[in-house]
Symmetry: C2
Subunit: 223 residues, 2 copies
Amino acid sequence: PHQKTVIDVEKDILYQNDMLAQRNRGYFDAKNVLAINLVSSPGSGKTSLLERTLTDLKGEMEFAVIEGDQQTTNDADRIHATGTKATQINTGKGCHLDADMVANALKGLKPKENSVLFIENVGNLVCPAMFDLGEKERVVIISVTEGDDKPLKYPDMFHSSTLCIINKTDLLPYVPFDIEKVKLNAKRINHQLEIIELSCTSGEGLPLWYSWLKSKVLAPEPV
Amino acid sequence: PHQKTVIDVEKDILYQNDMLAQRNRGYFDAKNVLAINLVSSPGSGKTSLLERTLTDLKGEMEFAVIEGDQQTTNDADRIHATGTKATQINTGKGCHLDADMVANALKGLKPKENSVLFIENVGNLVCPAMFDLGEKERVVIISVTEGDDKPLKYPDMFHSSTLCIINKTDLLPYVPFDIEKVKLNAKRINHQLEIIELSCTSGEGLPLWYSWLKSKVLAPEPV
Ligand SMILES: Nc1nc2c(ncn2[C@@H]2O[C@H](COP(=O)(O)OP(=O)(O)OP(=O)(O)O)[C@@H](O)[C@H]2O)c(=O)[nH]1
Ligand SMILES: Nc1nc2c(ncn2[C@@H]2O[C@H](COP(=O)(O)OP(=O)(O)OP(=O)(O)O)[C@@H](O)[C@H]2O)c(=O)[nH]1
Ligand SMILES: [Mg+2]
Ligand SMILES: [Mg+2]
Ligand SMILES: [Zn+2]
Ligand SMILES: [Zn+2]
């Protein structure tokens, strides 16, 4: 019975989350907001990718950012420095963002119509996989320093993502990372997963990411 | 009431875990086994550190290893290749090892008296912090590619660890990582935390880790 209760409560949590995620999805639909959930291990480069993107595409698109972290406002501060609207969620002991936290953040953030909303999740390659936030796209970042076996060892996140970014390609000369092998491993878990290689530091490959992003932005609806 | 139930069940899980962890602790005491819980983000180098250690200290100490991962037996295979006894726990959707999983693994592994037992946790800088496994030492690994702000952003893990290893120092020339800053950040979270810098790839700093390990191994009890 103990085990049963735990599983029941977990199911209940996921069910409640899925319901709220659908509500967020409706909100994004209504405002034609492209919501993107950015997930990765701690330090794979989520905030670095946002800093580059928000700076390079300033003027071309309208952005807003929700930052998730256990503690500190470090990441939101980095986003503010680019001149972008951002709000920080501190999860404390929590290991992932959930749809309810995002719904609350939206009240203050009020993303504009036809904008792109980035949601940077807590750095964790495991738990955020189970929690739909209502996003349109889920982008998983892996850096070449983490090893090419990660998609097989942490399959849920790769299975539930729509795009995989392989970051820190500038470090390839110094680490034993086989790009073709990681791609094969990722496709084995999710054959529909798109994959882009880039370096936030050198800028190599960023145009591919920007093209992908532009292809996902929906045209404003005719009034 | 929904929220209450969730918190109650979480408390219940942690309480049950703490009880079982104490039982593991008693088992380790009885056999004079030094149990070390290795925690980090995915890919920080837990298995690499074990490969080096088990090879370099072969003959000097007796080792056994419990490997935790969501999927695959990759890490246990790497440990077996060093000639060390190892057992793999696959957590599936689970995001951390718990004391019960360790208790079950011990039944098959049967670590020898006066040995060192390494437990490699699931790569996750968040959830394993809350789950005592009965270990004597908790070693958190951070690699220099992850950024020097990690102790502040993921404080629970640094707070609950006894040793912090800063790995991949061979990559310092290529990343913006301030060693003094990360040490200050880690000490701010846990002023008793010991810190060792090393590179599993170049071998630099490994002797410091081996000295630490030897200082923790208890002398066999006189019969
Ligand atoms: N060499 C190199 N370093 C990078 C690259 N991208 C990011 N970094 C570094 O990686 C570290 C972590 O970057 P962040 O952007 O903070 O990573 P994050 O995923 O936002 O981290 P969390 O939010 O804490 O999970 C920092 O030191 C960055 O400078 C890259 O392309 N190449
Ligand atoms: N440059 C460099 N690479 C390292 C070092 N230590 C480990 N690596 C590389 O980092 C990657 C991940 O190493 P692992 O030992 O598998 O890391 P892990 O923490 O066991 O990973 P998980 O078990 O999946 O969480 C591999 O490609 C290693 O070769 C180091 O000191 N320097
Ligand atoms: Mg970040
Ligand atoms: Mg490992
Ligand atoms: Zn979790
Ligand atoms: Zn967890």
